[in-house]
Amino acid sequence: MFSYCIEPDALATFQWLTCYLTTGVHFSFYLSFLNVLGILAVTAPIALSFGFFGAIAARSQIVPLSLLGKGYIAVVRGVPDIAFFLFFVIALDQGFEWLRHQALCPNWTDPIRQGNDFLVCPRAKLPLGTAPQTVHQLYAYGLAIITFALVFGAFAANVIFGAMLAVPKAQLETAEAYGMSQHQIFWRILVPQMWIYALPGLSNLWQILIKATPLLFLLGIEDVVYWARELGGTKTARFTSFPHGDWRMWYFLALLIFYLFMTWSSEKFLKKIMQKLTKGQDMAGTAMSTTRDFS
């Protein structure tokens, strides 16, 4: 990066560090932070909407829909995310390709399963074999986001489902008495009041989602932890101009700070939202006076 980086062995510590920290591989590391942030930013709203619709489905009066919603919540919630990621992405990918295969290559005669191999017609490949590497990358991101959103959507659905039950019955009853339709009660009373009960659970979920990003690597995305492991591991002089011992601790420390910062800032943000939502509602936390002493 810097002109003096040609001969790193000869450099003083500080200059050495500047060179070391600006190697191409470190830029991949830095980029991965942005990647993670981007994925989080996209995943969270999708997961939330999965959760919202999951909850609506689960409490639907239409039995099959309700079973679908409840099944989704129970099954996806039941499986550890790691285990899920270890096989679900591949299954999802194969599922998409299978669907495309059925649609695009109706005349294809070769079996799709040949022994262990999964082979669809070339036109059905996702992404196409001719696609540039970036498309492959984007596709991987898409799969990862869908998988993440599915998993966290199930938990969000559960939280929202519970929050909907927590809204005082009298509030809904009154709306009913005023002739609001179920639809109106839902959107005008239940949903606005539900958020106060849901937000603590959802913010917990968001924190867990942030902390689940290291699992992105299982989904084929090089995340911050992958790079921290990679860069922090012992490097011998044969393979790098910047040999060093086991520096994982320092890299992990950097990650720790990154994650703590994420937590801190999202807590601040969520607190603001919570204040908006609880406006006017009579709960201990919203008491006019200072924090209440419970002990």
């Binding site: 191409g24 096989f87 299982l218």
Partner: protein, 221 residues
Amino acid sequence: HSVVRMGTEGAYPPYNFINDAGEIDGFEREVGDELCKRAELTCEWVKNDWDSIIPNLVSSNYDTIIAGMSITDERDEVIDFTQDYFPPTASAYVGAAEAADWEKGVVAAQTATIQAGHIASSGATLVEFATPEETVAAVRNGEADAVFADADYLAPLVEASGGGLVFIGPDVPLGGGVGMGLRESDSELKEKFDAAITSMKKDGSLNTLLVKWFGEATAQY
């Protein structure tokens, strides 16, 4: 195949690793590029986690595995291998001192490797870590008496340790040579690569690369 996607792990020097520039580098990178050239194929490199490297191959997310994968019978049942481009390898023990007990003591190995399987059936107490890095660290910090891993992986570490780590015990030949993994249905591609490897073996260019990456002492064709 318009473009052949080559799957590798990128965390197993000197076979494959990420260099300072952030690119895939190592013995296999050079061999792979040369093979593609000789087989007149356009190749693209893809990184994939070791755990799911075979499942992703069979589900056609890339077309070859070139990741220091030893040819074993179990693997051969699921995928096809080209002929080996690296002679049968040896695994070795490394301890903190010559006297370390590799026979009955605590031996570290990476989870779910052939080395771990070997130790499990030996008389030693196996302790498994998720990454190779941690297995070596376990010897350094005294959790394990010895680490058992691919000799080629250990050699540069021992060399760089300045006496902190030493080879102990006998080398153990495990697995066949290292070959390129392909889908069983992809025999056309397999033939192309086989031919390319043969030609590299013949004109000695493979040996040149072996010496470049593994040193003079390594086995050659």
